[in-house]
Symmetry: C2
Subunit: 108 residues, 2 copies
DNA sequence: ACATAATACCTTGACTGTCATAGTAATGTG
DNA sequence: CACATTACTATGACAGTCAAGGTATTATGT
């Protein structure tokens, strides 16, 4: 299973995946990529550039807010917090995913 | 449910959806969009421009071949035929979809 | 006869999400 | 003291989608 394939088919779900992670508490960027890799059983690696562009988009949309934490180890950390609006967007996206899934399963 | 949302989440599946249709026999372009709309219970409308760019891509990749038929009604029809290579690509794509689905379901 | 709708195909240019690449900077390890 | 790891950021390219516009034929209603 190629990396390329996974990325193409997961396209558009990055925002939702990140919002889902933030539901269980504030996280910093680097931590998010590591968690996704771990939670997917090492099968999906969200690229840093993709994640940061998603975080930027989410912040501009008011789905998340950010604040600098103290860098305890390594570089300083920027933490992300999900807003009420973010929770709402997450819920909609998850619902849309179930909907899209049923359509694809019917057409493929 | 907005059109926009559907398109974003079905992105990348267009080729596979078309290949799936061609498995049951040669079809012409316009017919493909109508069939997809019908098969999805009027819930997904594959845009013409998207379909033609997908057909062009598939033909370049050797997944399909094309030939002109007689236009019995309306404009002349260009028919598309799936090749052995197309069947192989379809099978791989379908497998990849099942794989991606399981990953997304775990991360979302 | 004539306008309109429907059939059927095609091109172009813009937009968006992804990612390779590159860079900065701090801390931990051998 | 070099090197790996942690951690964030910017840029430029690429690919799939689609709105918009175009051409041409046939069917339908008046």
């Amino acid at each position: 299973m190629s990396e390329k394939m996974t990325s193409d088919l997961l396209r558009g779900h990055t925002d939702t995946i990140i919002l889902n992670l933030l539901l269980s508490g504030d996280k910093y960027g680097y931590e998010i990529t590591k968690l996704i890799f771990k939670n997917s059983n090492e099968q999906y690696e969200l690229k840093e550039a993709t994640m940061y562009s998603s975080l930027k988009r989410l912040e501009q949309d008011g789905a998340i807010t950010s604040y600098w934490g103290e860098g305890s180890q390594g570089g300083r950390r920027k933490y992300y917090h999900i807003t009420d609006r973010g929770i709402q967007i997450y819920t909609e996206n998850k619902h849309n995913w179930e909907y899209a899934k049923s359509i694809i399963d019917r057409l493929i």
